[in-house]
């Protein structure tokens, strides 16, 4: 199962790869990374149908914001789940994301216990 993480901070890749070391080694989980909204859309559009099933995106990014990316994905790839990961945990961002079809809303600093649980539950389905 492939999941895509979108964040303009490159250290996110190192953090996620280390955090999910065991899961990527033992359980059928593959991590992909994009550092902007456009890059994420390119990646998703590279294969038809896209092989990514779940996208986790930051909101505050230069260029396309996470919320715009969410709208784009929902329009072009309605089958892909999207959750947000943002430092801006205020109700405005949260409500906007949820009404646009986000599955979950995680705040930074990321609580990996709940994030792992979300992924595990999803994989179980």
């Amino acid at each position: 199962m492939k999941i895509l993480i979108v964040d303009d901070e490159r250290d996110v890749e190192m953090l996620f790869r280390q955090k999910f070391r065991k899961e990527t080694k033992n359980e059928n989980l593959e991590l992909m990374f994009a550092f902007s909204g456009n890059e994420a859309l390119e990646l998703l559009g590279a294969t038809d149908p896209p092989n990514v099933v779940y996208v986790f995106s930051d909101i505050n990014m230069p260029g396309m914001t996470g919320l715009e990316l969410l709208d784009n994905i929902k329009q072009r790839f309605p089958g892909i789940n999207v959750s947000m990961i943002s430092a801006y945990g205020d109700s405005e961002n949260h409500d906007k994301a949820m009404s646009s079809g986000a599955k979950e809303f995680f705040t930074k600093p990321i609580d990996f216990i709940s994030l792992k649980k979300e992924i595990r539950d999803f994989m179980a389905e």
Binding site: E9, D11, L15, Q18, K19, N60, A87, Y88, D90, K108, P109, I110, F112
Partner: protein, 442 residues
């Protein structure tokens, strides 16, 4: 000027003095007699506004009136004029005499009144004649002697002067106040923009905090794995040392994680405040919220100039369950009350001679008469009874200059009232000030 000319002049002057000072008599005041003294065109001024004339008829009328009104004050014959100043024009056509006139006041024998007489003479075809004469008795005239209209006029002027003085003082004060308000507004404006900036910064701080917290956690997990592997090796001095060092690193990583989490908590509180929107009522652990915000207020004060040492005592009722409040607004009240307490205790510390004074803040929570009580008590200078009432009015402040807006307590009161509660103050001068928040128990 030649002596003969001067004696001619003096003769006219003496006649003029006589005319002015002696009582009215028909012979002396004939047109013929007067025209020997005054030039065809002349002006005489007396001390008051009424005493002015430019022709003989008026002069005679006035003289008669004066004699009637000033009986007993009338100058006696034999007045003495003492020359003060003499000036003659170089061409010999004009002269100015200034004299002090000593007269005996009729009522009291022997008393004298000093008058001042200024006389201007012109040389005419007929000889020296007076063109202008001014007589005044400035200071010795009793007030009642002045015409009542002049008297009233002077009184009015004095009143107006007083009013103007009072108003200029008030204006001055208003100006100062306005200046202070302007400075306050500028400060508020700066703070507002700083607030917006803070919100942005606070969010961005969360990103590096995310890495600090998660990488430290991750590293701690890895160290555990290393430890498991090391323990599989045959134990030796080296493995012991490695395990000891790994234990230390794990401790350090936990510290990094702990303090990162702390910083995250502070950022969260900052955001709560900068957002400024009306939050929602929720069930909150009141003890925890109070503890967090007292801590924040204290460290905020410590980070500012004029920091003081404060002994903070928390006496919270552990049995207090969740309380329904608007945490965003309620925390603002706690911050306000703490800030006031710190300011008051700082003032006492700066003023007191007593070096052993230790500022102390006591915060209590509990339940009394089926209401939830929060008390914030400082051992500062106290609040005088006469201003206790005003304390919660908007814009009332005891802080000097631009230090206070006078809004903190009135906003706090509004917030507590919007919770259906009450904010009360109790104080004893020199001893303590205690604010009590009473909330309905839900």
């Amino acid at each position: 000027m030649k002596a003969t000319k001067i004696s001619e002049l003096d003769a006219v002057f003496e006649a003029a003095v006589k005319i002015i000072t002696e009582p009215y008599s028909r012979d002396m005041f004939t047109n013929a007699a007067l025209s020997k003294i005054f030039a065809p065109s002349f002006l005489v001024y007396g001390a008051s506004g009424e005493e002015i004339f430019m022709n003989f008829d008026d002069f005679r009328e006035l003289k008669k009136d004066l004699d009637k009104n000033k009986q007993g004050q009338q100058f006696n014959p034999g007045v003495e004029s003492i020359p003060v100043f003499r000036s003659y024009s170089p061409d010999g056509s004009t002269a100015l005499y200034v004299d002090e006139v000593q007269t005996r006041a009729g009522a009291t024998k022997g008393s004298t009144t000093a008058g001042r007489l200024s006389t201007v003479f012109n040389k005419t075809d007929m000889g020296w004649r007076v063109t202008h004469l001014h007589y005044s008795t400035p200071s010795k005239i009793p007030v009642k002697e002045k015409s009542s209209s002049l008297n009233n006029f002077e009184k009015r002027i004095a009143e107006m002067q007083q009013i103007i003085e009072e108003q200029s003082i008030a204006l001055n004060e208003a100006g100062k106040k306005q200046q202070a308000i302007r400075e306050q507004l500028i400060k508020q404006e700066k703070l507002a923009s700083l607030g917006q900036l803070t919100a942005g910064i606070a969010h961005e701080i969360k990103n590096p905090l995310n890495f600090i917290n998660n990488f430290s956690e991750l590293s701690a997990e890895f160290i555990e794995e290393i430890e498991e592997n090391v323990q599989k090796l045959s134990p030796s001095e080296v493995t012991e040392e490695i395990l000891g060092l790994l234990e230390d690193i794990k401790g350090n990583l936990n510290k990094i994680h702990h303090h990162g989490t702390r910083a995250d908590g502070i950022v969260k509180s900052m955001l709560l405040h900068s957002r400024g929107g009306s939050g929602k009522m929720e069930d909150v652990n009141l003890n925890e919220l109070i503890k967090e915000y007292i801590n924040l207020a204290f460290h905020g004060m410590r980070a500012n100039k004029n920091a003081i040492n404060v002994d903070i005592k928390l006496e919270t009722d552990k049995s207090l369950g969740p309380v329904k409040i608007n945490p965003e607004n309620f925390s603002r009240v706690i911050l306000n009350l703490c800030k006031n307490a710190f300011d008051a205790m700082r003032e006492k510390q700066q003023q007191t001679e007593n070096k052993t004074y230790l500022p102390q803040l006591v915060v209590r929570t509990g339940v009394k008469e089926n209401r939830i009580i929060v008390e914030i008590e400082d051992n500062g200078p106290g609040v005088p009874e006469e201003i206790r009432e005003k304390l919660m009015q908007p814009f009332f402040t005891t802080k000097k200059g631009t230090e206070g807006t006078g809004l903190g307590l009135s906003i706090s009161k509004d917030i507590i009232e919007s919770h259906g509660g009450e904010l009360e103050i109790d104080s004893e001068e020199g001893e303590f000030t205690r604010f009590t928040i009473k909330l309905k128990k839900t």
